[in-house]
Symmetry: C2
Subunit: 363 residues, 2 copies
């Protein structure tokens, strides 16, 4: 029923080994022989049996890309970019030569599903795995993931982090591309402070995530440096900080509700910083629904600079992360097309984008 290597060999009047060599292009083969084999392949519509090939070679052409939420363009952009570097250009014939199969796995932000996917990828003997986005900080999960990654690396799977801080143990087994979330968060709030804001609400992401923590830390660093709040070390300072911070998921609804809550807790806030652009959009909606104008009555800022942020009205002040470039680089690292950064870790700069949604507070 299904055509095998042996069938092709018979038709081309060569041995199966020769067909294999032609297909993989790893050994010298006479041009005339190669020609004959390729013709037989086309005639028979032969398609290599991936599992058999992977079994014999002890490695597959699968590359996994793990994302927290594929419906979020933040991840979509990175994953798509990584795939452009992995899938290969294709030769237009649809014949599929030595391409890798880049596959995106949606963890939904759940550490369990992340582990499950890693196991599935391990089972497939994946050639490489790219982990994108912030990590959950629970020590048990950290350890479980680290152990799993160690096993994968041990089996020859290349590991790349993209937009994710390196493991605490600083394993040499991964290349890590980390976003400067802390620095970006700091500069964003510094901008607000320089405009004259002092009471700034913060809609944070889910607790226990590195991205959430780093962005929030940057924000508070800026606040403290400006003396806008007392040192977090003091009871008063910590309390004030907590009162102006609300946590929630990275979605629009969370931004809406958290903003309402902030406005209730502290009606005198003059600015709201959101954990990301999607959340910021929800915050904007909430502000408007309360009958306030942006930025005249209240400033709003986001993070990431997703494509839609420039089209918000007013355009959203935010922190630009080079998601596409980072994803593409991660893809190249996964393919071994590019050397890992020195020390295995590179920090990717975040750029402040000042637009219409922030202005000086009134009065």
């Amino acid at each position: 029923m299904t055509v095998t290597l042996a069938d092709v060999a018979a038709r081309a009047r060569v041995s199966p080994a020769t067909v294999s060599r032609v297909l993989n292009g790893n050994y010298p083969v006479a041009a005339s022989t190669r020609e004959r084999v390729l013709r037989a392949v086309d005639d028979l519509d032969y398609v290599l049996n991936g599992p058999a090939s992977s079994l014999a070679a002890a490695t597959s052409d699968l590359v996994g890309i793990l994302v927290n939420d594929i419906a979020d363009p933040f991840f979509g952009i990175m994953a798509g970019a990584a795939q452009t570097q992995i899938g290969g250009p294709g030769d237009g014939s649809g014949r599929a030569g030595g391409e890798k199969l880049a596959v995106i796995c949606n963890t939904g932000g759940s550490p369990e599903r992340e582990l499950t996917y890693l196991t599935l990828l391990q089972r497939q003997r994946a050639a490489a795995v790219v982990l994108t986005g912030g990590a959950v900080e629970d020590p048990a999960h950290q350890a479980a993931i680290a152990a799993k990654l160690a096993k994968l690396a041990d089996a020859g799977t290349r590991i790349v982090f993209c937009g994710r801080p390196p493991l605490p143990e600083g394993d040499a087994l991964v290349a890590a591309l980390a976003f400067d979330n802390r620095g970006g968060g700091r500069r964003l709030t510094e901008h607000l402070i320089s405009l004259g804001h002092r009471r700034i609400g913060y809609v944070a992401g889910p607790p226990e995530r590195t991205t959430t923590r780093h962005r929030l830390e940057g924000h508070r660093e800026a606040l403290r440096a400006a003396g806008a709040v007392e040192e977090g070390g003091t009871a008063e300072g910590a309390e004030a900080e907590d009162r102006l911070t609300v946590h929630g998921p990275y979605d629009r609804r969370s931004g809406y509700e958290a903003t309402l809550e902030l406005l209730r807790r502290a009606p005198d806030v003059t600015a709201i910083v959101a954990a990301n652009d999607t959340v910021a959009l929800g915050a904007c909606a909430a502000v408007r629904d309360q009958g306030m104008r942006i930025p005249q009555d209240i400033s709003v800022a986001g993070f990431d600079d997703l494509p839609f942020s420039v089209d918000a009205v007013p355009a959203l002040t935010t922190v630009r992360l080079p998601l596409f470039e980072a994803g593409a680089r991660a893809g190249r690292l996964a393919m071994g097309k590019e050397n890992p950064p020195p020390g295995g870790i590179a920090t990717i700069a975040a750029e402040l984008m000042i637009r219409g949604s922030t202005a000086a507070p009134r009065g």
Copy 2:
């Protein structure tokens, strides 16, 4: 170095076949034996060899999901939804039982890459393939895809279309979930006409795509039914229609530039309909940059009702497509958890969402 089934069997003092049976859960095994085997698996940190297993079983646990552009939430939402139905809930142990590996493949809208991915999936002996989004209408590619799908189906791969019209030949080998793009487009333009609009610009998607064509056809149906333009059959009618239509990719920039072009060609348009919400956002930006207000000076409408559309200012009138539900259903069809619709094809309704970006034309 790597632990195999035989190692587990030895440690559990059973035969390899028994271990296989426990792992796959397809045959009855005594509880005590199962217990012993599972303990051995955990002790040894055993992970099944996917390729070997697929080779022997002649089928793999891979399910492919093809999308045009994963950075676009339109696809991200569908793909993520499909994955929730395929990945299995996971048992929280990260052990990965009988789960399928749902993988998203980004074709970039290129038919060649689509074919390449299908070949790759065929090579992996994928259990199922879900194709999302509109198809390219070039007959050569249609035929190539149809032939490839036939071969996949022949090899036992289940084929599901999601948001994509069924193949012309109407093969019984696929289950198709098609969006009512034509009906949605018609109702949207009927809404505009009922508000009093007669000169309506249309920013269409790329030519030769089913989605583009169907939405545009719906638009023109409404126009003709209202007598807003002469019959397309006449030279005058066709010319007028063409003058008020600009094609471009499904992105923000295209919406911006096409709108500028439309405004140049026909400064008296009172409304602009965009091929989708992302394009509509670009259209809004162009309208504003020309110093006009939405909807007072000009109405704008989109399609899809992506999450950000309700947060546009003013909120975008659009056509809601149940992307998540459709993706989830496609996932279930791919898993064989749900019976195919009668005739193999189901049309999914599109719902008109009237919001602030459309109003009666002035004067």
